[in-house]
Symmetry: C2
Subunit: 421 residues, 2 copies
């Protein structure tokens, strides 16, 4: 891993040079590299697992939790899944070169707004080694160079995976500096990466609030922060109760660790009397621990439930815990979501067209659902093929960040000697 | 001006609350406010000029340069122009609510990506008071609240203009906190504004490099930096020479203080012998001071021209000064632009389809021109009606920032009880 000894600035400058070649690469060349990555991952699985075993051993010695060890672990099946992911990205449409809009100006100039790659994207992530390939594949396909900064706990796994990608990229005739690994896990190195304005066009942190805060303190490069998902399911007075129960259980319990899972259930007071006595047992049966406000507790509380505090309304549990509260109107639900929501995914269950419209207009979030689970906020589910992250900020991209969102645009203007009067 | 005594944080929170109302305001209501602004500007012109006179007097006492005094000065004609600008914004299409794309997912969910306002936009600007109305009008029309932070030298002018806007907005039934002025010019205040992540969605600095550096050091709110325009006109070997001369003169001299003016003329060595002896006299006749590289000087230099230094290639003169250099190929021109350009507006003059395509593909700038002047990079020229700034960064918006670019989007998803499997 000779690359480890290069400085962060040098790695980023090499990535910038590579990005100029990648930006002009044919779709078929990029797809060949992606298929080669898939093949090499399978062929070199023993080597990957050997490196991974070294990380796992070091992790156990360092006392990593079982959950972290599990996120770090690779096996043949997981490697095969990662390889399939790379091939799936090859099958997606190429976003580069798409004409977004255009026309002829008053003076005869023809203008086209054309999608082009951003350039160099840095991804900062924590233990999971599959992120190395997933993000490299999406950046390659969208014509971007990528600088990966994984955690030190996955250093051997990420090193081999990056080497495999670089070999495949070079084999397809593209510059291997299209994919680079900044190996260590130090905060100084993060600061260096986050200030390479000459070479890095975007940093995407995939990690916890500590990582985001560290980046926010130092970054001069643009960052897309994926905020927490404090998401709500609001059951309106006119909701179909079977749908409402299914949606509440699905949004909370189907995969509680996902950022698009629900953390709070809001219930219209007018329907709580019939809804909560059915919904709360269903949630408890799904293993959900409940934090109830006073009215909900009085109506359908059981021993084992807890009282919801002010902190519960703002909490992203990422676990089988759900806050449940009464609201007296759609407007009160909108106000609650406005105060505590993180702008990720918000759902109303309602039979009323007026309530649905009020919720859609009143909620300021990336994804607003009517009569569906919040769990669909996902690049794959949205038909974008894959996502590199999920944005809750408003600038550039909101919601799933897929291939198109890894691009910017350029105006191409063609004339016949026009000058400005 | 009671608002001056409010804290920056309070002003921004009030703007946030107003932004929720504005985001849902009808187009006709917003247009009524814009027309009322136009009428009030005319009706209250004496009051505006009186306030402006106080700023001018204070500016002269403080020793402001004639150029700054001129930028600060309003007269009845300029006020009428500003009023016409507000009415012109009323005539533009409303960007809010536009469906950008959408479709039905595999599971029957209907997804629409809909344009919505960003929320609260802060604009930090220097002396010109017309910016107060121009930016307020664009933000109002796009459903955004605006927090204006003008310079202390224009405090009285901006105060009256903001008051006029707030009266008109309130008269149309919209919250007057939709438009607020942070009055002072202190850096501490700028830092406070740039860290209101809870309430401010975007900061747009309209000013020099010092302002941008100050923001970059402190901002945690997203910023769109409008970098300098180090723009090039490249005259290819196959260029029509009349077009090339007209474009070079126009790009440099038609309005040298504009960010879309050219700063460097690159000439293919194969055509320099016939082009420079005609072009350089035309440029000198337009008042342009020339900085020539060795080959250009040897071929067509005159006493009074200067030698181009390394600094000249990177300079944004914003004045009647032009660097002129030889290049030996289209690729060499692309490389020069890649090294020294600021990603704003770049032009090739060529008769060759292959050269035009190579330039379009190889130049990473917001606007790439073939056979036209760089001076067209402008929201008005591009048919966007108006612009609040011009972006050379790649995230969110590139090139002119008009009404659409002051918006983000939201996914609206409608179902009939769908849950994730």
């Amino acid at each position: 891993m000779a690359l480890v000894t290069e400085s962060v600035a040098d790695i980023c400058l090499a990535a910038k040079a590579a990005s100029r070649v990648l930006a002009r690469a044919d779709t078929s060349t990029k797809n060949a590299a992606l298929h080669a990555i898939g093949e090499a991952l399978i062929a070199r699985t023993p080597e990957i697992l050997e490196a991974n075993a070294r990380d796992l051993e070091a992790g156990r010695e360092a006392g990593l939790s079982d959950a972290l060890i599990d996120r770090l672990r690779l096996d043949a099946e997981r490697v095969a899944g990662i390889a399939a992911g790379a091939r799936a990205v090859a099958a997606l449409p190429d976003p580069v070169g798409e004409v977004l809009d255009g026309g002829r100006l008053y003076n005869g100039l023809d203008v086209r707004r054309v999608r082009v790659p951003l350039g160099v994207i840095a991804v900062v992530y924590e233990s999971r080694p599959n992120v190395t390939i997933d993000c490299a594949a999406l950046c390659l396909k969208s014509g971007n160079a990528i600088v990966l900064r994984g955690s030190s706990s996955a250093i051997h796994s990420n090193g081999v995976l990056t080497e495999i990608v670089r070999d495949a990229v070079a084999g397809a005739g593209l510059p291997e500096a299209a994919v680079s690994l900044v190996a260590g896990g130090g905060r100084a190195e993060l600061g260096e990466l986050a200030t390479q304005r000459e070479s890095v066009d975007l940093i995407i942190p995939r990690g916890g609030e500590g990582l985001k805060a560290a980046l926010m303190a130092v970054a001069t490069v643009p960052v897309i922060y994926a905020a927490a998902g404090v998401n709500h399911v609001f059951v309106d007075v006119s909701a179909d109760l079977d749908d409402a129960i299914a949606i509440a259980v699905n949004a909370k319990a189907q995969r509680p660790s996902a950022c698009n899972a629900a953390e709070t259930l809001l219930v219209h007071a007018g329907v709580a009397g019939v809804f909560l006595p059915r919904a709360l047992p269903a949630l408890r049966a799904a293993g959900v621990a409940l934090r109830l406000d006073e009215r909900a507790a009085a109506l359908a509380g059981e021993p084992g439930d807890e009282a919801a505090t002010e902190e519960d309304w703002a909490a992203e549990y990422l676990a089988l815990v759900l806050a449940v509260g009464f609201v007296d109107s759609v407007d009160a639900a909108i106000e609650h979501v406005g105060r505590y929501g993180s702008g990720h995914s918000e759902a109303i269950v309602t039979g009323s067209a007026a309530s649905a419209r009020a919720f859609q207009l009143g909620i300021d979030a990336a994804c607003v659902y009517v009569n569906a689970s919040t769990r669909f906020t996902d690049g794959g589910e949205f038909g974008m093929g894959a996502e590199i992250a999920n944005s809750t900020q408003k600038l550039h991209a909101r919601g799933p960040i897929g291939l198109s969102e890894l691009c910017t645009y350029r105006y191409l203007v063609e004339g016949s000697g026009q000058v400005r009067a």
